[in-house]
């Protein structure tokens, strides 16, 4: 569809924004409400419970989760560096950083998968108790968001990168927007990690 939608790439003067940037922030606002509702549910269930185990008491691995936190933070840096590379006209560098971001995502998911596996091995399932119900649901939904981000990042690393040749400014904006989403996923984990594993 080649309808010319205004302000797709160049920002609108009075708002200073291009369309997708406003769009992604609105989407992130709804995501704040989504994870907020889940956090709220967690707090309600936990404060209403007669007792609630500490993360590490129930077999959650703090070292693994700390490693995972580092992995995700690193992927956030590589993501923003990917965008910065495009801003500096260095496509090769962009490719490298975006590739690293994708790999970091893979790493995160592998560690997560291993964590889930150890839980299942010990017969800890979402149905075991509300602690595990909360743990699996929150990390599971977060994990789905990671996968979604990786699909987008993978596309922009691969077939989507064609746009750099035809419309570099628009492509750079797309990476910025994808980056905003990815940083948000990191942000959610920054709160999930202490509340599930450490408190």
């Amino acid at each position: 569809m080649d309808l010319q939608i205004p302000y797709n790439t160049e920002p609108r003067p009075d708002t200073g924004l291009y369309n997708a940037k406003l769009g992604i922030w609105l989407f992130l606002a709804s995501e704040v409400m989504l994870f907020g509702a889940l956090f709220s549910s967690y707090v309600l269930l936990r404060t209403g419970a007669p007792s609630w185990p500490l993360g590490r008491e129930e077999g959650l691995s703090v070292p693994l989760a700390t490693l995972n936190t580092m992995v995700l933070i690193a992927s956030s840096v590589t993501m923003v560096l990917a965008w910065a590379s495009l801003k500096m006209n260095d496509f090769a560098k962009y490719r490298r950083y975006m590739g690293l971001t994708f790999l970091a995502g893979v790493g995160f998911l592998c560690i997560k998968a291993y964590e889930y596996y150890t839980k299942f091995e010990h017969h800890h399932f979402p149905s075991t108790n509300t602690f595990f119900a909360v743990y699996f649901t929150l990390t599971g939904l977060h994990g789905l968001h990671v996968i979604g981000g990786m699909v987008v990042n993978g596309y922009f690393w691969g077939p989507g990168a064609k746009m750099w040749k035809t419309d570099p400014e628009r492509f750079t904006n797309r990476i910025e927007v994808a980056g905003l989403y990815w940083h948000f996923v990191d942000l959610v984990w920054i709160f999930l990690f202490p509340t599930l594993y450490l408190l």
Partner: protein, 587 residues
């Protein structure tokens, strides 16, 4: 097909223009106008289906224990054609869900909003056409999932449109499909609302400042924020209930729950109230989503058919913005009977009373707008005029529900059903009819028949009041809602049972009254009176800056430039009684 002007293209070239094939044009269209029509058609079908479900319910209410005509022997052979209570509950839950989520919101926002907003703001399309297309198909898939629940073992969702646990957690598998459908619908809505907000903020034509926006656009703007920020709570709750049902978690199941003498084999530790909080956190803003687009439509129809600017436009804009904000802090007035303490109850009663003020401001402004106007009593205006007292009744009857002492008596009775139906049925749905009659010429270049319009309007107005007014009587007598026999087995209901037959007759008459409308709608597409591009002599951009139907590609020959407010009707010194928004000086 006169709905899309395929042959009208802007005269100037615009580079390569790949003509999409049939699938790209009609199935996976990215044109907001066609997507609006897709939403419109689909939602009207769902509304009709939801209406049919209700007509079956009204049989059981009027004649409990009597076999359902025609369908009875097909569906309930073993019961001799009599509707079992479980089926009545399915009808109840699905009627509510379908009307609200598959009918009204997609019609009000997906159809009217999608079609009109870009045109009214002078934009070539929505900001994200591909996203728009996905929103429609997600809605469609959600609808299919919802309806498929009827075919699940145990039947469709049957725990009310509110799906309260623990009942909904242990209900048959139709409830799972309800939840899956809901997840699709909510996702569709989230993408759509982001699209609307970006479109309205970024794509307004030059000169179209915020206070020059048609009131309809403001209404859609506030509505989109409500959808964006409130729906995620139900998305979360839906996911948690799905986990409860599929993964056997206990988010909403308390410890020690015993069902039919058997303790439930779950971990327990959950909270049924958690569901109610999350559900109503969405569902209260949702009811404003139901009414705001209606306000928008009525505003446009009134301004046009009084030949005067809307009185108090600015107040109305501030009122609906305030309303949108307040709608997030009133939800627990649906939960007064859950055992809450006085402080929480006082808080929510206070916010609920405060939120009634902006609605009064809007209604009053619309009433005053009529004063001194040259009123044209065409079909859209008749529906718009009827909307005002009908919405007033709905709003006023909300007051005793919003105050806890009276709510103690009225909660979960027919009074509630009467209240919300007045706002939604002779309220919002009448506004939808007004909008369809009003903008039909924009979509098709033809007018709907006025005679058939009046034949639709008058019986509908009378019948709809016959259906819903007696509900207040029954509710005050204490008749509970969701009773499959309409209260027949309760002694306190005996005195008001006679209204059941009356209301059912009203409902069936209402059904018959829609026939002229359905016929009119389709007949007029091909045989309606041909009109010019602005038959109502309106001022707003969708009427004055493009053809009827609008240009297929990009809506406008050139993007208009706006020089005045949206309602320059009867401007002193002007040569005509309306001045288009993009006209620099009056001729």
């Amino acid at each position: 097909m006169a709905l899309v002007d395929e042959h009208a293209h802007p005269k100037h070239g615009h580079g390569e223009h790949h003509e999409p094939g049939f699938i790209g044009k009609y199935i996976f269209s990215q044109d907001h106008k066609w997507i609006g029509i897709q939403y419109g058609f689909t939602s009207l079908v769902f509304l009709l289906f939801g209406f049919t479900l209700m007509m079956m319910m009204r049989w059981a209410l009027a004649y409990p224990g009597k076999p359902l005509p025609l369908l009875g022997m097909m569906l309930f052979k073993d019961m001799g054609g009599v509707m079992p209570p479980e089926f009545y509950n399915q009808l109840g839950a699905m009627h509510g869900t379908i009307m609200v989520f598959l009918g009204i919101v997609p019609l009000a926002v997906g159809a009217f909003g999608n079609y009109l907003v870009p045109l009214m703001i002078g934009a070539p399309d929505m900001a994200f056409p591909k996203l728009n297309m996905s929103s429609y198909w997600l809605y469609f898939c959600g609808g299919v999932a919802m309806l498929s629940s009827f075919f699940m073992p145990g039947g469709a969702a049957q725990s009310g449109w509110t799906s309260y646990p623990p009942l909904s957690d242990i209900a048959p598998s139709g409830q799972t499909m309800w939840l899956v459908g809901m997840l699709f619908l909510i996702f569709s809505s989230l993408l759509g609302s982001a699209n609307f907000i970006v479109t309205i903020v970024q794509l307004r034509a030059p000169g179209l400042t915020w206070m020059r926006l048609p009131f309809f656009v403001w209404a859609q703007f506030v509505t989109s924020f409500l959808l964006l920020l409130a729906f995620p709570a139900l998305q979360a709750a839906g996911m948690l209930q799905l986990m409860d049902r599929v993964a056997h978690t206990s988010f909403f199941l308390p410890s020690g729950l015993v069902i039919s003498g058997q303790p439930l084999a779950v971990s327990g530790g959950g909270s049924p109230l958690l569901w109610q909080h999350l559900f109503w956190f969405l569902a209260h803003p949702e009811v404003y989503v139901l009414i705001l687009p209606a306000f928008g439509i009525i505003g446009e129809v009134i301004a046009n058919n009084t030949r005067k600017p809307l009185w108090g436009y600015k107040s109305m804009v501030y009122a609906i913005t305030f309303l949108g904000f307040m709608s997030f802090v009133v939800w627990a007035h649906h939960m007064f009977m859950t055992g809450m303490g006085t402080v929480m109850s006082t808080f929510f009663q206070t916010t609920t009373m405060i939120i009634s003020i902006p609605s009064v401001i809007v209604l009053t402004a619309m009433l005053i707008s009529l004063w001194g106007g040259s009123i044209r009593f065409n079909t859209p205006m008749l529906f718009a005029l009827a909307f005002l007292p009908m919405f007033a009744i709905g709003g006023l009857t909300g007051l005793p529900l919003g105050l806890a002492p009276t709510d103690i008596h009225l909660h979960d009775t027919y009074y509630v059903i009467g209240h919300f139906h007045y706002v939604v049925a002779p309220g919002t749905i009448f506004a939808m009819f007004a909008g369809i009659y009003f903008w039909f010429p924009k979509l098709t270049g033809r007018k709907m028949s006025e005679a058939l319009g009046k034949l639709h309007f008058w019986p509908s107005l009378i019948a709809i009041n016959c259906v819903f007014m007696p509900m207040f009587i029954q509710g005050l007598a204490g008749v509970s809602r969701r009773l499959y026999d309409g209260g027949a087995s309760y002694s306190h209901a005996q005195g008001v049972l006679k209204w059941n037959v009356f209301m059912s007759m009203g409902a069936w008459t209402l059904a018959v009254a829609q026939i002229p409308f359905i016929f009119n709608l389709f007949w007029s597409i091909w045989k309606g009176q041909k009109v010019n591009s602005n038959p109502w002599e309106a001022t707003t951009l969708e009427w004055v800056a493009t053809t009827s139907p609008p240009l297929a590609h990009g809506n406008f020959e050139t993007i208009p430039e706006v020089h005045r407010g949206p309602y320059d009707y009867s401007l002193p010194g002007a040569s005509r009684d309306f001045v288009p928004q993009h006209q620099l000086q009056e001729a």
